[in-house]
Symmetry: C2
Subunit: 347 residues, 2 copies
């Protein structure tokens, strides 16, 4: 049913379409690709492929265009063949640039998106670390002035969050230290969620002496935790979409860009699988979100201290250069993980 030649023809069409974005005719294939058969034969094969759902006709007298199903087949074969050797030279090159230009984690992620978009020429997306799975490493209360106290949270992945809050009456420095030490003892090593639970369970009973102060502080810690949970998404190269003829249509361009502009939607998109897997590819209609049902999204994860903490990916027309993008992404996954470990002093 899908004999070898059909596969070859399909591949030829896909490759051709990825380059040209124009419907491919039988003649083009028989000329450009060396299949040793005439255009008439190709024509028959193409007709079969259409019946099988791998090709579509924009209209009767145009050539044919690969369907999502075709891309899926194509991608699966790329992944299976797994001849995706990493270009070490390029990897190190990128690593160098990234390391040099990124002092903070957020910056690193942002720069990665930028470079990724530059080398793939598609829109790049990246999501910054979530703290949910991170463990608390250090918590400290610092008195700033008479009425202000700063809460500093440090997670084991090195991310710092802080909040200032005000108190009615000054809390002496030494009391703050006692409280800080107590909190550290009780909470160190717990995840954000566990801390929330611990606080519900009233771990503070034994600190009755400081009840008043602690009552003050609990909501602050909760709030800080809430904020620690904040994730950031970055999109870079959004306007690259204009380079693709399929987006010469204003409405399509608008709907794409609007989608990318909606950060909340992007977070949903990128967190859908909750960071579990590595490389992920969704093609065209496989996407849940209406505005990108004619796009493909390829993402991969990066890790810190053996935890998957974020995602980086590329989005573009379904006829994107999957091979190039997959290679680039693998490279970024490794680089990000390496740099993060370095940046946060873990390796």
């Amino acid at each position: 049913m899908m004999d070898d030649r059909k596969i070859k023809v399909l591949h030829a069409i896909i490759n051709s379409y990825i380059l040209s974005a124009e419907p491919i005719g039988s003649r083009t294939i028989s000329k450009q690709y060396d299949l040793g058969v005439s255009s008439a034969t190709i024509r028959n094969e193409m007709s079969d492929l259409e019946d099988l759902g791998y090709l579509n006709k924009p209209h009767t007298s145009a050539g044919r265009v690969p369907s999502d199903k075709a891309y899926r087949l194509y991608v699966n074969q790329i992944l299976q063949a797994e001849k995706l050797k990493m270009d070490m030279k390029k990897k190190d090159e990128i690593k160098k640039v990234l390391t040099k230009e990124s002092k903070e984690m957020d910056q690193l992620i942002q720069n990665s998106a930028k470079i990724l978009s530059a080398i793939t020429s598609y829109t790049a997306l990246a999501i910054s670390p979530q703290m949910k799975q991170a463990k608390l490493k250090h918590i400290q209360l610092i008195s700033i002035d008479e009425v202000e106290i700063l809460v500093v949270l440090v997670s084991d992945s090195g991310i710092v969050k802080n909040t200032i809050f005000r108190v009615e009456q000054k809390i002496p420095e030494d009391q703050l230290i006692i409280i800080s030490n107590f909190l550290n003892n009780k909470l160190k090593g717990l995840t954000i969620q566990e801390i929330g639970k611990a606080m519900d369970n009233g771990i503070f009973k034994e600190m009755y002496d400081f009840k008043e102060i602690i009552d003050n502080i609990i909501p602050i810690i909760n709030k800080s935790l809430d904020e620690a949970d904040n994730v950031e998404v970055y999109a870079d190269g959004v306007t690259k979409i204009f380079n693709f003829p399929e987006y010469k249509d204003l409405d399509r361009a608008k709907s794409f860009i609007s989608f990318i502009e909606d950060k909340e939607l992007l977070i949903e998109l990128l967190l859908s699988d909750n960071l579990d897997n590595g490389l992920e590819i969704t093609i065209g209609n496989e996407n849940i979100y209406e505005p990108i049902k004619d796009c493909s999204l390829i993402t991969t994860t990066y890790r810190l201290a053996d935890m998957t903490i974020g995602k980086i990916g590329v989005i573009g027309p379904t006829r994107m250069d999957y091979f190039k993008v997959i290679n680039a992404l693998k490279l970024f996954s490794v680089n990000l993980t390496e740099i993060l470990d370095m940046l946060m002093g873990k390796s």
Copy 2:
């Protein structure tokens, strides 16, 4: 030369063009606006206005379109008339929403851009606080574990920055406190730049006992200061530009969106006047940046603790609804300043 009637005609044309985005003919004016003269007279006036540089003709047989000079005149008159009374009800409404949805400063700025874009239906820009002019309120070194130290900087406007750094050998807690106290004594109340200078001048001589440690810490503080200087820009409603017929042209839309996407350029744009003035309006060609020479940019500043710390604004086609935008911006300026003072506990 510019008698009363000419002004009236010009205003009519501008108002009409702001609504329709189509060249206006003499007949339209004489019919729609009650000037008590015939279209022929209007025609003559329009011809004069063209000679004076207030109107342009797209081509011979089209109507006329206001020039940048015309908008400038128009805007100056709006500003002078200053009948811009603030709609207190609306102001409070917005304040309520902003307050409710913004826990952190960055969030507040971001939300402001969002709402501003929503109510004006143009693209909104906002830049987050710079610390350059802020004064150091508190600095503290915290030992996190054996080899990691956290530097926390708090500015008088309540903004917190922190950096983790590693040291070779553990520095005892009490030494850190001594150093922290020393730094606080020396540096409190200084601006970021002054601190840099102070450090160059070797204020650490008297701390010779801790020379080794301090030598370690100086670059860290410098780095923290560097990072403290980071500003964030937010753009919201970028795709609103697609709603305007003058951007039905893909290239123009692309160049606009590309410009907005370039955060560094945006920062330059918004910091050009270094936050000195309040309301600022640049129209069309008055803009330095090529891609927005057919846009108008209206910005205003917001303050915290009596310092101007950021800017928020709107960018759109030159035929934007200046009146509406100016009103909205005034409202945001006040609201942001008020909310910030509250959020940071100053009022």
